[in-house]
């Protein structure tokens, strides 16, 4: 038997969290460094997987299958293809960066913090490697609990409200998903995600198929989040501690989109196509998320809330891309449809990675300025460019990546999504492009102009921040940001670094669903 690398990557954080639990509370530095250093192991393993999967990304690799609860047909099934591999790299990278960044920023209840954060990593990695519905669901929910506690304990002023809202929204979605999972099981006789897709449950019964489809869709839409299920997000993001926001935006939102690509699209292609093309509810919601999210950003004066809403907008591209691919089924006869569908899924899944890197970076940057000024109000700042040039530079790169400047990571994913969607559902692609315009507007106007340009007003600064010291980035902050910046530039110039893996998955997926 081969080395169970996926089990290792998923459960090593659990092992670390047990070690953390055994270290006495007073040895805070031990807890911090043990977590950070040991978290490099799953990171290294995920990079190894990334390299190993490159050769044939469309297939499942490193599969593991053990009987878990045979009485109810539940198996311990794991496997990775290109998409999972990319998401694993993102998860482990951002987690390690968060542990590292938190060494310097989390001062109280350190032990509980690292314990919960490591547990969160177990949940997230588990979702990306599960190939069994119940197993998937278990990890899906396990990630929910630590995040709830992280927001509630280390969050901002309205943390209690935000944490409960976050928990109940997600719980509502996942309960619906649980029913749908059982429904799929009763229809196909298996909890295996791949086999269920091959069996095409409820193919003859549109009502049941639509019910199960919407149950899954709502569960994932809440997590993505897609308008109108997004209202938990600004609260949770704004109130969470910095590292929590990074993980929320960087990984947790991706779980929902990953579910759409891995579960909903392959299992309910016809229903998905129906609601993407014939009755285009989903592209409409995607476009609303894009435009509405961006417009709210324009009106937002709280920097962290602004970034939070920008996630709603940017994740809208992902939904648009996925629904374009689904809609391709409805016009499958037309020439070039398959290629466009593949491109749009490539775009959507690339966006998962790039958005994780970019918005993760943005939340780190917001946390850094908040730690100095203790305010996030954009109006309180101004002229910081001359005072903190290093910070300014990094923020510029990240902000431009976010607005999709060619040469940086964000460009490719948006380009692919619109290239794919334009050929399949042109009208929504055209409206969606508006989002890019608004994004450019709020990044340039709100962030660049209001915060960094103009004259620095020392008096105002002293007044709003109670004479806080304004220093440029410290070494640990630079170390946190550099891997992300490098990735943004690297993917900007060489997107096949990631796309090559995603393309294999998209091609296989589209070939399976198109007749």
């Amino acid at each position: 038997m081969n080395f169970p690398i996926l089990t290792a990557i998923t459960f090593i954080p659990l092992l670390i969290s047990t070690i953390v639990l055994l270290i006495p509370k007073s040895k805070e530095n031990w807890i911090r460094s043990v977590s950070t250093v040991l978290s490099l192991i799953p990171l290294a393993l995920s990079i190894y997987i990334y390299i190993a999967v490159r050769a044939d990304p469309g297939k499942m690799h490193f599969t593991e299958e053990y009987s878990w609860i045979p009485a109810i047909d539940v198996y311990y099934r794991m496997g990775v293809d290109g998409l999972s591999a990319v998401m694993l790299v993102l998860t482990t990278l951002l987690s390690t960066l968060c542990y590292y960044y938190s060494i310097y920023t989390i001062k109280n209840r350190v032990k509980e913090y690292y314990f919960l954060f490591l547990l969160l990593q177990v949940g997230m990695s588990g979702v990306f490697v599960s190939l069994d519905f119940i197993f998937f669901y278990v990890f899906w929910e396990i990630g929910l609990v630590p995040m709830y506690l992280l927001i509630g304990i280390w969050g901002g002023e309205r943390r209690i409200y935000a944490s409960i809202k976050f928990f109940l929204y997600t719980l509502a979605g996942s309960m619906a998903m649980l029913l749908a999972i059982i429904g799929v099981y009763l229809a196909t006789g298996t909890f295996n995600i791949l086999e269920a897709a091959a069996a095409q449950p409820f193919a003859g019964n549109f009502a049941l198929s639509a019910a199960a489809f919407w149950a899954f869709f709502v569960a994932f839409a809440i997590k993505v989040p897609i308008f109108p299920f997004h209202t938990w997000l600004p609260d949770a993001h704004t109130e969470a501690p910095t590292a929590g926001s990074v993980i929320l935006a960087g990984v947790l939102l991706k779980l929902g989109a990953y579910g759409l690509i891995r579960i909903v699209l392959p299992i309910f292609p016809k229903t998905f196509a129906f609601y993407s093309y014939n009755v285009p509810v989903i592209p409409i919601l995607a476009v609303i998320s894009i435009v509405y999210g961006a417009l709210v950003c324009m009106a937002q004066w709280d920097l962290k809330r602004l970034i939070a809403y920008s996630s709603v907008s940017h994740m809208g591209y992902v939904t648009l891309g996925i629904s374009a691919a689904a809609a391709s089924l409805a016009i499958s006869g037309r020439e070039g449809t398959a290629t466009s569908a593949i491109i749009s899924i490539n775009g959507a899944s690339l966006q998962l990675f790039t958005h994780g890197v970019i918005t993760g970076g943005l939340f780190f940057l917001v946390g850094m300025i908040y730690d100095r000024a203790h305010t996030r109000q954009i109006r309180d700042f101004g002229g910081l460019g001359s005072k903190v040039p290093y910070y300014y530079g990094i923020m510029m790169v990240t902000g431009f990546a976010s607005l999709g400047l060619p040469g940086l990571a964000g460009f490719w994913s948006e380009f692919f999504v619109f290239r794919g969607a334009f050929a399949i559902i042109p009208i929504f692609a055209i409206i969606g492009v508006l989002g890019i315009v608004f994004t450019a507007a709020y990044i340039l106007w709100k962030i660049v102009q209001h915060i960094f340009l103009g004259e620095f007003d020392q008096e105002k600064w002293d007044q709003v921040t109670h004479q806080a010291k304004l220093t440029d980035l410290a070494t640990f902050e630079k170390i946190t940001m550099w891997p992300l910046v490098i990735l943004m530039v690297l993917i900007g110039f060489y997107p096949s670094l990631i796309v090559r893996l995603l393309n294999g998955v998209s091609t296989a997926l589209v070939n399976n669903i198109l007749p």
């Binding site: 509630g152 029913l179 099981y185």
Partner: protein
């Protein structure tokens, strides 16, 4: 193996209750070891029941003139009763030593109550059902009012007694209707009698069903027969509350399932509709009212009503089980009861520890518990998440089995109501977690809570079982599926 050996678990419970009572009556002033004597009895009974469980497949039959059923289903509940008795005794040792001088009476009543659960689960005749039902009720009334200097305790007992006696009377009326229709009180003979019943007399079944459900609904704490429970739960000594919340409900399900499946299987359409209605009301009302509770015992009382509602879904979705069948309703009921037993008794252990040390049951006083006792707060989170049904805990497996059963029978409406309720329930359970974890304490209050060893043992044990049932559910589900053997016609 002699068939009467299967009565050993009950006999051992009965013997230890006589011993505890007798020794207390004639024995020395020193009564510290009385609970341990009782505990020995329950442990032996548990061991014997588990041993017998392996033999029962061969011997499913009724004895003593059809009064008593010996089948795996009844052995499941004997194990259940013995576990509950042991845990309740452990929970009571420190708590009752401080509050009541009547140690011997208390422990013999606990044993009596658990003995009657055990007896109820083997009853194969309506007369036997009624006797053991009353035995359980009467011992519960006394236990509820056991702190006789506490007016709340006495009030709780009176209220419980009044509701209980009316419920018993109605149930007895229902039984007499069944007897009138079939000329028998034996459950199997009733089933046979009803299959050949004169169509003109068929209508008798419906009032009989409703009246029987009053009694069973009272024991399983189902809306609208639940009104006694919040007050009784709040006023009773907390270990007794724990008993009522788990043991008494379990007994109610034991008798409900046996009577419905043995005597009335042909009328599933009728009782399933009735029970489905009760289930919806229980889930919804229990959860909604629990939200506004400030006292944790009352909150757990209302949440118990909601859980009874979920469990009823399993019974509604009953189907004859065959090996290899996935998601059958009664397995769901039995697994849910186990899960609920572990999580709820664990939660009550924490509540008892808290009350014992700090004298309060207000949820707001749980603020900052994580800093005062990581053990209590940490395990309480596990119990509450299990009650919500988060994966990794037993509660998830219970919900999965129950929802699975409902969907398999295509009761979509029931399943949807249940999931909406699960989300509502999340709200008030999280409220407790919020206080324990998110509310910081003022400095002077930060003394650590040292729990008595017996309570710590119960807390750790139930927590381990809650997690085991969540992560390694297979043996538990197998055990439950092996417990589905009922004597039938």
């Amino acid at each position: 193996m002699h068939i009467f050996l299967f009565l050993l678990p009950q006999l051992i419970l009965f013997l230890s209750l006589v011993l505890v009572f007798g020794i207390d009556l004639v024995g020395s002033k020193e009564k510290k070891w009385l609970p341990y004597l009782a505990l020995t009895g329950t442990t032996i009974s548990l061991a014997v029941s588990i041993y017998l469980f392996g033999w029962v497949e061969i011997t499913a039959e009724s004895v003593l003139g059809g009064m008593i059923a010996i089948d795996s289903f009844s052995l499941y509940f004997q194990i259940f009763a013995a576990v509950i008795a042991s845990i309740i005794i452990l929970l009571s040792i420190e708590y009752m030593a401080l509050r009541s001088p009547y140690q011997g009476e208390y422990y013999s009543l606990i044993l009596l109550a658990c003995f009657s659960i055990s007896l109820l689960s083997v009853s194969a005749d309506l007369v036997m059902v009624f006797i053991s039902f009353e035995l359980l009720s009467i011992s519960s009334y006394i236990l509820t009012g056991f702190l006789r200097n506490d007016p709340k305790s006495s009030e709780a007992a009176i209220k419980y007694f009044l509701y209980g006696s009316i419920a018993s009377a109605m149930m007895l009326y229902g039984m007499s209707l069944l007897y009138g229709a079939t000329a028998s009180t034996n459950l199997i003979q009733i089933a046979q009698g009803l299959s050949g019943i004169d169509p003109g007399l068929r209508w008798v079944i419906y009032p009989a069903l409703v009246l029987l459900m009053v009694g069973f609904g009272f024991k399983t704490v189902t809306v609208p027969f639940h009104q006694w429970s919040p007050d009784a739960y709040e006023g009773a000594p907390t270990p007794v509350t724990a008993f009522l919340a788990v043991g008494s409900i379990g007994a109610g399900f034991a008798v409900l399932i046996r009577v419905m499946l043995t005597a009335l299987p042909d009328f599933q359409v009728n009782w399933a509709a009735l029970i489905a209605g009760l289930s919806i009301m229980s889930m919804t009302l229990g959860n909604l009212v629990a939200i506004s509770q400030k006292n944790i015992k009352r909150m757990l009382a209302y949440s118990g009503i909601a859980h009874a509602g979920y469990i009823l879904i399993g019974l509604v979705s009953w189907d004859l089980w065959y090996p290899g069948m996935v998601f059958d309703g009664v397995s769901g009921v039995l697994i849910y009861l186990l899960v609920y037993l572990a999580a709820n008794l664990g939660a009550f252990a924490v509540v008892i520890g808290f009350e014992h040390k700090l004298g309060s049951n207000q949820i707001s006083d749980y603020a900052g518990l994580i800093q005062r006792s990581p053990l209590m707060a940490g395990t309480m989170v596990v119990f509450l998440f299990s009650l919500i049904g988060i994966p990794g805990t037993g509660g998830f497996v219970g919900k999965l089995m129950i929802f699975g059963a409902a969907l398999r029978k295509e009761y979509y409406f029931l399943a949807i109501i249940a999931i909406i309720n699960s989300v509502v329930a999340g709200f008030y359970y999280l409220n407790v977690i919020r206080y324990m974890f998110f509310q910081p304490l003022d400095e002077p209050q930060r003394d650590r809570i040292q729990l008595p060893k017996t309570l710590s043992a119960v807390i750790i044990l139930t927590c381990v079982f809650t997690l085991l049932m969540g992560l390694f559910a297979q043996p538990f589900i197998q055990f439950v599926q092996a417990s589905l053997g009922l004597i039938t016609s």
